[in-house]
């Protein structure tokens, strides 16, 4: 996979993941072009299209479009299910995920994606394993956060 984009029906980019080196300018150009192309398509149309020398696989979930660019020899249907598995992961993590979750917790969306896909390839397909990794991280986070709070509390006391 060369890149993955999440954007809203209004064309607002919600997440971008690039697996090939491109300049910021090029990324913006690609995003603009693709968002336009995909949004112009009608609901019943097929989920694949040729774009430049890549294949675009996209699917809409509620107000969000998930859009992947894959290479010529890559499998379209399995890419469609990569999208779906990612949605399931987000859903499980956030509990009925909606666009707002991804806006406000964009960093989490990236972390989950990194556990699932790395370097443009599927790393771990087991939902349990991916969520376990994130869960562990969250546990670490909570631990450090409690640490942080107690620390700041001490700091607060000290200041006075």
């Amino acid at each position: 996979m060369q890149f993955m984009l999440l954007f809203s029906r209004q064309g607002k980019l919600r997440l971008q993941k690039w697996y090939v080196p491109l300049s910021d300018k090029e990324k913006k150009k690609i995003t603009r072009e693709l968002v336009q192309t995909v949004l112009a398509r009608k609901p019943k149309m097929c989920s694949f299209l040729e774009w430049r020398d890549l294949k675009i696989v996209y699917k809409r979930y509620a107000s969000l479009y998930f859009c992947c660019a894959i290479e010529d020899q890559d499998n379209e249907l399995i890419t469609l299910e990569i999208i779906h598995r990612y949605v399931e992961l987000l859903d499980k993590y956030f509990g009925s995920v909606c666009e707002l979750d991804i806006i406000f917790n964009f960093e989490k969306a990236y972390f989950i994606l990194d556990e699932f896909l790395l370097g443009g390839e599927v790393q771990e397909t087991s939902k349990k394993n991916v969520l376990k990794a994130i869960e562990q991280a969250d546990l670490l986070q909570e631990k450090t956060e409690t640490m942080y709070h107690s620390k700041s509390f001490i700091g607060y006391k000290k200041a006075y």
Partner: protein
């Protein structure tokens, strides 16, 4: 998942995000962002040291602003600081920022790499994974240099956690893709292959991707992966739908892994080991069988995952292209999908069938679906599906269905998306040319193209129709008549005027007998379009007019009147003005004879690859046109290229695109290195954009001088050139635009002398010109060619423009040999033939003596040239053997004998050539006392007929 953990660590961030969301306008948003940026900047610059939490929060805000599409030019240092925090969440945000916003600030890279190095060494799997993710996300060369050597170790270390192995595998893959030179192959590669056996499915899933990429460059090192992949695949495919627990996806066991394994197998030819192959074929059959079973779930995810595996299986079957049974089954399966209610499946079936169409085993099976595909072209509502249908029609086209397909594509063209019209036009033009049985159909088709989609008919297409009409006199009258009729339409496309103008100028006389298309009618019809046309077209029409003066003297006065008109003679366009002036003068001063000579009918165009095909390839990338290009499907097709006798110029026309010596097929010849300087210069000049056809007054040249890409046909491959010399001793060995190499040679017994003439065809001096002869392998011990050694003369180092230098080579054949010396010298073993006369009885006696199977070489082959007994005789004599009459009971057959003289030994050779005029085939049998000699002579000689 607990709702509490959802990033509520950073309240300030959430507030900022809602602020942005509440902005009513773009301006308000920018204002809010600038305010925040100023705030963060002041915090970062402030005297108070920020605590980790604030740093994390601000870095995260910057990230958010960047992802909104704004530029961020600070904060990198703070993010790097976060990397070395011992708090996981701070580290994580730091890594995220670096992954998204890395820039190659060298100082930062050093710091980042340092932090990564620490985390990799931490032995804390969570930290290690974070670091690996970061390397994989950035994938820069600097990171490759720093870590490419460490990661393989982490990957195969016995104590690495599974999750670390997974990340390491894909991290390495990313680095390898970015800079393959940095990833050292070594002992670890064998252990990576064995990850295919790992019990953790996630590790296998990650490892397969890595292996698939690595094995493309080093197939032999990874060969063992085939059997491992097959057994893994077989276990998955045969497992029940719940066996694999969490790796089962909607009742489909491990779909991602299956697809990846099938993908990996496509890097290799079919397994050699019969057991492995059997097991694999079984897997493929199981997948095909499962496709027929009722679905285990109604969910689209189930069918997608299942079909993903099915399509990948079909890809593998097509890749092997060796199991007719599977290919036909695949085709039938795709046939079912063609009518599936899911648009996605119809799309993929059309796409996949396109590749099936190019297999000889399934081509016919694909063709049976023609009606469905045509229907798809007509009724699909999604343009991308229609496009696939058009592609498939193109791929399945052959002589039997060309008319139907071309007419359907023409019909589709009328409503096709603008974006794909040009491609459809090219395809129609190619099919029409390729499969034309009668050329009137071809002409009709192209004129229809112009009528329907004139704007999309590129120059290549209408040039081509003119070339073909010019080269085939059986269609010229028809073309003139048709184009004349087409021009009568009240509005016709300018391309039609161009084609019409040219054809009537050349062949208008063929329809002039009919009063409805008498010369004055033809002229006034063309001239009625004149004023609406562009300059280029008007220039072409002026040329047509002068041709009319030659063809139809009765139009002279009218046309001279037109030329003389102020609007021509004083036209603001210099090209039009020049043509008018020159044609007018030509028509008044030249005698009819001179005029007839100047304006003689165009000679046939040299035959070459269709420039349209070349254009389609450029448009679609290699492979697009290959289905037709390789001529695989229809070897007997005499497409127009092959149908016309090639003109002699074909061989010697220089090709600017050929490399300097053009000997692409041969091992690198001893190229004169320094001439490259001059050569490149020339090649550049020729590679420049097409010159406007405005130079010469000769209209023929101006309008149909081929563009730079097709100045000439590609130089015949070196082997082909060598073949010329098997039966003769003198001729042109090599020629391109820069250099011509001529050869004269004589051979006696085991000695030979060869004169090479190097002609510099350019006007520039070749510097340091030094041809050398290379003896591949151990040829040196078989043949001595003294080049540059006494008594051979060395060539002068410089070759002046236009000059020729000569070089003498003395050759001695020491033993028998197969490969000719390089520079592709036409020195083949038969040169050392000594003809031997013998009586029939002797011949048969010796023939019987050489009866060991390995002493005989036989070849049955199709005649490539007309079967003429005299020519054959001359070739056999030229080959070096004696011709023995009255030996073979069948007088049609040829029998020859000779001895190959080498210093070490003599090899007696007997040969028999049996032509079969009816089948246009030959059978050639050679018997010699040395096995490789028999085979080699047989190969050499067989190419000559």
């Amino acid at each position: 998942m607990p709702a509490v953990s959802k990033g509520d660590g950073m309240r300030g961030l959430a507030v900022f995000i809602s602020d942005i969301r509440n902005c009513k306008s773009k301006e308000a948003e920018i204002k809010r962002i600038n305010k925040e940026l100023a705030n963060i900047r002041s915090k970062f610059k402030g005297d108070k040291a920020l605590d980790g939490y604030s740093k994390k929060k601000y870095v995260c805000k910057l990230l958010f602003i960047f992802l909104l599409g704004h530029d961020i030019d600070f904060g990198h240092m703070e993010a790097v600081n976060l990397l070395s925090s011992n708090k996981y969440t701070e580290k994580q945000i730091g890594y995220l920022f670096i992954s998204v916003l890395v820039n190659s600030n060298s100082e930062l890279i050093r710091l980042i790499n340092n932090a990564i190095k620490n985390d990799l060494a931490s032995r804390n799997p969570t930290f290690m994974c974070l670091a690996l993710h970061c390397i994989a996300n950035v994938g820069s060369r600097e990171m490759g240099e720093a870590f490419a050597a460490d990661i393989p170790r982490i990957l195969v270390a016995g104590d690495s956690m599974d999750s670390v192995k997974q990340s390491a595998a894909l991290c390495l893959l990313r680095l390898y893709k970015a800079s393959p030179d940095l990833v050292p192959m070594g002992e670890w590669t064998a252990r990576v292959v064995h990850l295919l056996n790992d019990q953790h499915m996630g590790v296998v899933t990650a490892a397969v991707s890595l292996i698939t990429c690595l094995c493309k460059k080093n197939p032999d090192d990874f060969k063992t992966c085939i059997s491992l992949a097959v057994s893994r695949l077989s276990r998955i495919v045969s497992s029940a739908s719940t066996d694999l627990q969490d790796y089962t996806y909607y009742f489909v066991p491990a779909p991602w892994l299956s697809v990846k394994l099938l993908r990996l197998l496509q890097c290799y030819p079919p397994p050699e080991d019969a057991a492995v192959k059997g097991r694999l074929v079984e897997c493929l059959e199981t997948v095909l069988n499962k496709a027929q079973e009722p679905p285990k779930s109604k969910k689209v995810q189930h069918s997608n995952a299942k079909n993903a595996i099915l399509f990948e299986t079909i890809s593998l079957i097509i890749h092997y292209d060796s199991e007719p049974n599977l290919l036909v089954r695949a085709c039938n399966q795709l046939g079912q999908f063609l009518q599936h209610r899911e648009t996605n499946l119809r799309y993929l079936a059309l796409e996949s069938m396109c590749t099936l169409a190019s297999s000889e085993f399934s081509h016919e099976a694909v063709k049976t679906h023609i009606d469905t595909v045509i229907n798809a072209l007509k009724t699909e509502r999604d343009v991308s599906v229609r496009q696939r249908a058009a592609d498939l029609l193109y791929a399945m086209c052959d002589r039997s269905n060309a008319k139907q397909i071309v007419s359907e594509m023409l019909r589709y063209l009328e409503t096709a998306d603008y974006a794909i019209r040009e491609e459809i036009v090219l395809k129609v033009a190619i099919l029409a040319e390729k499969y034309a049985v009668d050329y009137s159909w071809y002409v009709d088709t192209i004129l229809n193209l112009i009528r329907i989609a004139g704007d999309y008919v590129s120059e290549e297409v209408w040039y081509r129709v003119l070339q073909i009409v010019t080269n085939r006199d059986d269609v010229q009258g028809y073309a003139a008549k048709t184009v004349f009729e087409a021009l009568q339409a009240p509005a016709c496309h300018e391309n039609m005027v161009k084609v019409g103008g040219y054809i009537l100028g050349e062949f208008g006389n063929l329809i002039a007998g009919d009063p409805r298309s008498s010369p004055p009618v033809q002229f006034s019809l063309l001239h009625s379009k004149f004023h609406l046309c562009s300059v280029a077209t008007r220039a072409l029409l002026l040329s047509t007019y002068i041709k009319f003066i030659n063809l139809f003297p009765e139009t002279k006065a009218t046309i001279q009147g037109v030329l003389r008109a102020g609007s021509q003679l004083r036209n603001a366009d210099v090209e039009l003005q020049q043509r008018a002036v020159e044609y007018l003068t030509l028509s008044s001063v030249a005698s009819t004879d001179v005029l007839a000579t100047v304006l003689e009918e165009m000679p046939p165009f040299p035959e070459r690859e269709s420039s349209i095909l070349a254009k389609l390839k450029r448009k679609k990338g290699p492979g697009a046109a290959s289905a037709l290009d390789d001529g695989r499907r229809d070897p007997s097709s005499n497409d127009i290229n092959g149908g016309v006798e090639p003109t002699p110029s074909t061989v010697s026309t220089p090709s600017p695109s050929a490399d300097l010596l053009g000997l692409r097929a041969a091992p690198p010849p001893a190229a004169p290195p320094a001439s490259a300087g001059a050569g490149n210069l020339l090649v550049d000049v020729f590679d420049g954009p097409a010159a406007q056809p405005s130079l010469g007054p000769t209209p023929e040249e101006a309008f149909l001088s081929p563009g730079p890409e097709d100045i000439g046909p590609p130089i015949p491959e070196a082997d082909e050139l060598l073949n010329k010399f098997v039966c003769k001793n003198n001729g042109v060995l090599f020629e391109n635009q820069l250099l011509q190499i001529g050869v004269k040679s004589e051979f006696r017994q085991n000695l030979g002398r060869m004169y090479l003439f190097y002609g510099n065809k350019t006007s520039v001096q070749f510097q340091n010109f030094s041809p050398t002869v290379v003896h591949p392998g151990d040829l040196q011990t078989h043949i001595l060619s003294g080049l540059g050694q006494p008594p051979t003369k060395r060539v002068a180092a410089q070759v002046d423009g236009g000059a020729q230098v000569q070089q003498v080579l003395n050759i001695e054949c020491l033993r028998d040999f197969l490969t000719p010396p390089l520079l592709s010298l036409p020195v083949t073993i038969n040169k050392f033939f000594q003809p031997t006369e013998m009586a029939a009885q002797d011949f048969f006696q010796r023939w019987k003596q050489l009866s060991l199977p390995q002493q005989e070489a036989q070849k049955i082959f199709k005649a490539n040239h007309p079967m003429d007994a005299e020519v054959t005789k001359a070739k056999l004599l030229g080959f070096g053997s004696a011709l023995l009459d009255n030996v073979d009971p069948n007088p049609e057959n040829f029998v020859g004998a000779g001895i190959i003289q080498t210093k070490a030994l003599q090899v007696g050779c007997l040969l028999r050539l049996e032509p079969n005029a009816q089948a246009q085939m030959y059978r050639l049998t050679l018997r010699t006392s040395k096995e490789p000699v028999s085979r080699h002579l047989c190969e050499l000689l067989a190419q000559q007929f």
